[in-house]
Amino acid sequence: MTDTGRSYLHVPEPSFRPGDKPTFDEMIIPKAGAVRRPPVDVHPDDIQDLARTIIRVMSSDNEAVGEWAASLTDEDALEGLKDMMRLRTMDARLLRAQRQGKTSFYMQALGEEAVACAFQKALEPGDMNFPTYRQQGLLITSGYPMTSMMNQIFSNSQDPMKGRQLGNLYSSKEHGFFSISGNLATQFVQAVGWAMASAIEGNDRVGVGWIGDGSTAEGDFHAGLVFASTYQPPCVLNIVNNQWAISTYQGIARGNAATFASKGLAFGLPSLRVDGNDYLAVHAVAKWAIERARKRLGPTLIEYVTYREGAHSTSDDPSAYRPKDEADGWPLGDPIERLKGYLIAKGVWSEDRHAQMASQIEDEVAAAQRESEAIGTLLEGDKPGPRDMFEDVYEEMPPHLREQLAQSLKEAGEG
C-alpha cells in the first residue's frame, strides 16, 4: 500500500487469488524428524518453540524418521490407510448422492483425512471427542457403521438423530463422539467441561475439543483455553488449520500471531504444531498429548497444518476465491498417498494390493449406500414423522407440546 501519511485499516490478504500462480515458498517446513520429542512431563515453558515449527515423521524418501517415529505398528498403520481410504470413498459417494438430490447438503474431509483418523487411533474407549463437522474420520476409525452415517446423511427413518439434524452432524455416545452442534466453537469449552467432570469424578477419561482455524476467533475458543489453563483437566484441544474458513483465509482469524498453536502459549499450555497430512506424525503427537492427559499432567493444544482440498460444503465454490490449482501446490502432500508410499517403501504394501483394497472398499461403501438408500433418502422412502420432531425436546413431553403434536399429526393426516 502506498504510504499516504494517513492511518489506514490493515486487512490481511492471502498471497494468491483466482488467476494467480500459487506457491508455498514462504512456508517454513522443517525436515521430517528434525523436531525433538520432549518427555511428556516437560514444563510447557521449555517447549514453546514447538508451537512455531512443524512436527513431521515421514520423509520425502518415504521413511519414518526422528524421535516421533515408531508410535504405530505396521498393522496399525495399514489399518489407518484403510480408514482414510474408506473415508475418502464414502465422501466421494455422498457428494455424488447430494448432487443427485438424495440429500440437501454434504461436507467432505478431502485432503485432511489423516487428522481425525490418526487421532482416533490414539484414543481409548471411554474418551470423548467434541468434533466439528469435518471429523467423520473419528467415526470411521472407531468402527461406527457406515450405514448409520449414511442414514443420518439421508435423514431416513433409521437416522439415529431422527431427521432432526443437517447432514454431517453425527452423534454417537457409544463411539465417544459428542453430538455436533453446527454452531462453531461452542463445543471447545464443553470438551474442557467434560474433562473437568472426569477429574471431579477421579477418572482418567480424556475429553477432546476440536475447532477449525477460522473458529479460533470465537470467544468460546478463548473460554476453552482459560478453563483448560485454570483447572488443568485431562483434555486435548485440537485446532485443524486447513487454511480456509469457507472463503476466508486463515490469516483473518490468526491475526498477527505466528501460528494458531502459539495462541496456547499465553495460557501456559503445551502447544504443538504438527504436519496434519502425516498420519504417523499426527498419531505420535496425539499419543503424547493423550498420555499427558491420562497421567494428570494437564491439557495440550495441537495445531494440525493441513489443506482443505475440496469445497467447504456442497453449497460452496472455492474457484471464486482461491486459485484452482492451489491444492496441487500444497507442500505437505496428500495424506493417503504419503502413508501408502511409506508402507510400500517398508515392503509391507504394494501398488497391486492398494488397487485391490481400493476396489474392495468401493464395493463395501456401495453396499452400505444401497442398504441406506433402500431405507430412504431425504425426499423418498421411509422418513421420520412429526412425532420424532416433538420427542426429546424435554424428557417428558409437556402439555403444550402434546397439544401441538396432536395438531401436527392432524395436519399430516395421521391424527
Binding site: 470423548m128 467434541f130 437416522d159 439415529p160 438423530m161 431422527k162 432432526r164 439434524q165 452432524l169 452423534s171 454417537s172 455416545k173 459428542f178 453430538s179 452442534s181 454452531n183 461452542t186 463445543q187 471447545f188 469449552v189 464443553q190 470438551a191 474442557v192 467441561g193 467434560w194 474433562a195 473437568m196 467432570a197 472426569s198 477429574a199 471431579i200 469424578e201 475429553g207 470467544g219 468460546d220 473460554a223 476453552g224 482459560v226 478453563f227 485454570t230 420427542e391 426429546d392 425436546v393 424435554y394 424428557e395 409437556p398 402439555p399 403444550h400
Partner: protein
Amino acid sequence: MAKKTMIEAIRDAHHIAMEADEKVVVFGEDVGYFGGVFRCTAGLQEKFGKARCFDAPICEGGIVGAAIGMAAYGLRPCIEIQFADYAYPAYDQIVSEAARLRHRSGGQFTAPMVIRMPTGGGIFGGQTHSQSPEALFAHVSGLKTVIPSTPYDAKGLLLASIEDNDPVIFLEPKRLYNGPFDGEHDKSIVPWSKHDDAEVPDGHYTVPLGKAKIVREGKDVTILAYGTMVHVAKKTAEDQGIDAEVIDLRTLVPLDTETIAQSVQKTGRCVVVHEATRTCGYGAELVSIVNELCFWALEAPVERVTGWDTPYPHSQEWDYFPGPKRLGAALNQVMEA
C-alpha cells in the same frame, strides 16, 4: 418450623442437594471461597470441598459451556450467573447447546443442569443489574424457566429443578432475597421473618415445576403474576378493595394453563403483570393464552401491566417499576369495563 430469607432457603436447597447426590456440583463467579455476592452458596466449598464448589473465571459462556460438558458426562451442575443481566455472553451456549442437546442427539446426550441468576430491579442497580430477561428464555424450546416468589417456593423449586433431567433457568428476584416487596418503595422494608411464606421446613421437599399457585382467592378479577410482582399484586388488590384472585405462576415453561383458565373462567376479567419491558414480554404470551382459552368468558379486554420499553434506569427506578399505582389503574380499568 424456622423462618428463612430467600437467600437462606436457596442456600439450604444447595446443601440438601449436594448431600443427597454427589453428582451435584456448584460453580460460578465468586461462588466458591466467598460463597457468592448474594451469599447463596456460602459454606458449600467448606463442606463439600473445592472439586464440588469452586470459583470460575469471569466468562459466562465458559461457565455454561463447561457445565454442559459436565452434565453430558453425568454430573448435575447447578451454576450461578452473577446477575441475569450477565447471561447474554452465555446465551448461545444456553439456546443452541443446553436447550437442544437431548433433541439433536436423538436422546443420546442430555444436559441436566440449573442456571441460577438473580433477576429484576428495585435495588437501584441501574441497567446492568436490574433486567428481567425471562422472555428470552421462555421463548426457547428445550428450556424450563422458573421464578419463585417466596423462600418456601425458592427452596422447593430449586430442589425440583436440580432433580429435573432438563436444563432449567432459575430466576431469583433479587429484591425478594431479604424480604417481600409490595412495591411501596418509600416505606421501610419488611423482613421475611415477619412473613408467613418464610416458614421453610428443614430437610428435603420439592415444589413441582409447571404448577402455579393461587396465592389470594377472589371472584372479580384474575391477576397473573410471578416473582416480585406477586407481592405487588396482592397488596394492590387489598388496598383497592378489589376481590382479585392472584395467581403466582412460579414456572413460566411449562406453564400451568389449567389453573389460569379455571380462574379466568370464574372471574371473567384478567390483568397480567411483569416487571420486564412490555413489547414481546412474557405478558404477551399470557394475554394470548387467556384469549385462546377464555375469550367467551371475558367481560373486559385483558390488561397488561409492565415495565416501560426503555433500558432499566437508575435514578428513575420508581418511574420505571410497575408499582401499585400502575397496577391499580389497570385493575380499575378492567373492573369498569
